[in-house]
Amino acid sequence: MNNGALVRLIDVHKVYHTGEMEVPAVRGVSLEIKRGEFVALMGASGSGKSTLMNILGCLDRPSSGSYFLNDADVSGLDRDRLADIRNRKIGFVFQNFNLLPRTSARENAELPLVYSTQRLSHAQLREKADGVLASVGLTGRGDHYPSQLSGGQQQRVAIARALINEPEILLADEPTGNLDSRTSVEIMAIFQQLNERGITIIMVTHEQDIAAYARRNINMRDGLILDDHVVSKRTNAATQIQNLSVNPTLVEPI
């Protein structure tokens, strides 16, 4: 069974029932993603990319077909098992950051550890949270509340939260959707950096230029994979930032 795939979907369908109507959202997707990939999942709204994302994130179960995560079939697990998988193996980054309000950046980052099976002391928690916050460039911001942080900083806190349990996959749903272009590049730089360190990233986006930061693009339409290709001319966020600081007008207008 083991062929090195971290994620393996086999003929996955998802049908929603709205009253009498059956609405197929995903209509037979088979897909493999290896460890260390950086995949952009693209498509117009209604293409089924969000549904596929929810299935990949173990937030939802396929109506039929199988989902192997780390060679373990997770398609038939119950709510509690799925919660444990999400806690241990998946880190989420959302479009609207979804930080807890009136809760410090550090406590937000610690959140997955609250539900983890490993028992950490208060000091260990703090150390770990400060560590991941530093890794996304938020050294010394642990005591700030989300309302005191910019959008980009809030998204970094969310990334820190996603990373704290050292997940297998980082799942990002339109991570730059609420950010300006400059901040978007910064977030992409972090993603590319994390990917260099070996973290698998799956990112849903509808923006072509954001998808260009990934290594592989998957296009969906009407619940099916339309196209799956390796990105040939990949954008490097770090170089872009350097160019920006030299010539700020390059990416400025949006």
Binding site: D60, A83, N98, P112, Y115
Partner: protein
Amino acid sequence: MRVAPTFNVALRALRRNKMRSVLTALGIIIGVGAVIAMVGIGNGAKAQVEAQIASLGENVILIFSGSTTSSGIRTGWGGAGTLKIEDAEAIRREVPGVIGVSEEVVSTTQVAAGNQNWFTRIFGESADYFDIRQWPLADGVPFTPQDVRSANKVCVIGRTTATQIYGNENPIGQILRIKNVPFTITGVLTPKGLSPQGVDQDDIVVMPYTSAMKRVIGGTTLRNINVQIGDPGQIPAAQQQIISLLRQRHNIRPGRDDDFTVRTQQEIAETATATSRVMTVLLGAIAGVSLLVGGIGIMNIMLVSVTERTREIGVRMAVGARGNDILTQFLIEAVTLSSVGGIIGIVCGIGASSVLSIYAHWPTLISVASIAIAFLFSAAVGVFFGFYPARKAAALDPIEALRYE
């Protein structure tokens, strides 16, 4: 279960919404406070009644003139003059186990000494009276069986009467004019306080019943006879014997009602405490309603809170919280609100009842049991009213919850 961190999460959530938490807890504070204070007042009244009943004396049988269950005209206790001095003597002579008998006549009249006068109650009694009622003298000596036989003009007075007429002077040996008959005061009774009916028991003049009948009240019948029995085990038998003795003496044919009423002290105590127990239950029930309202307040706020924090619940679920973790979190929030409210409520209730007993002179009694029950009940209110919102939160679908605006 990951209770400890969930506990922290719940407490933090409460702290984030301080004002709301305080107001929600206030419902419980008022409810528990009211229960504690009301039950305290009820229990205090009950304890006071019990103490006063005990102050009637020990192992006492009271025989009243007239019957409360007469088929004809219903007179109150002691209303119809059916008890004679000879009846009391017969009881003294013939009923086994009797250690004291006091013939009693009662009247109210004006008494005077010097330029002072006072309206008070006159009790005619035998010399056994002070033993039967366990009412020692604070000062002086009681009147003697000889005084009773000779209908001497002597009396002892209660503390209130003494203060009203003599102020700070020593009344012993002084002359008290009762209906213009001069009585010599031989003693002052120890203060007894209020009776269960709220009568000042120390506002009294006690004299030989013979003197009272002959010189003050007139008449030849007794209002009642107080009988003391030596061994409590003999009381039921003595009660029966008194009834048959008096029926025989009063020539009452079988099948006809008694023309007297016999009550044991225990029966009186049971009636009186039953009344105050009913009062305690009623007060407690009314206060309980406010506790219930407080509980509904918790449920309301928790429901609002669940709706408001739908996104938060979604995020927690996305990062690995199980339904149970969410349930526990909201349940802990509800129980914390209700039990902290309960503790503060207990303190407030104790405070309120001590204020009442200090300023309104109401007797209150707060038992450890009522505190424990109030606390457990308030915690239970939290569980009961917190469960539905908590379950609602736990049942949320993470995808829906994350998308909630």
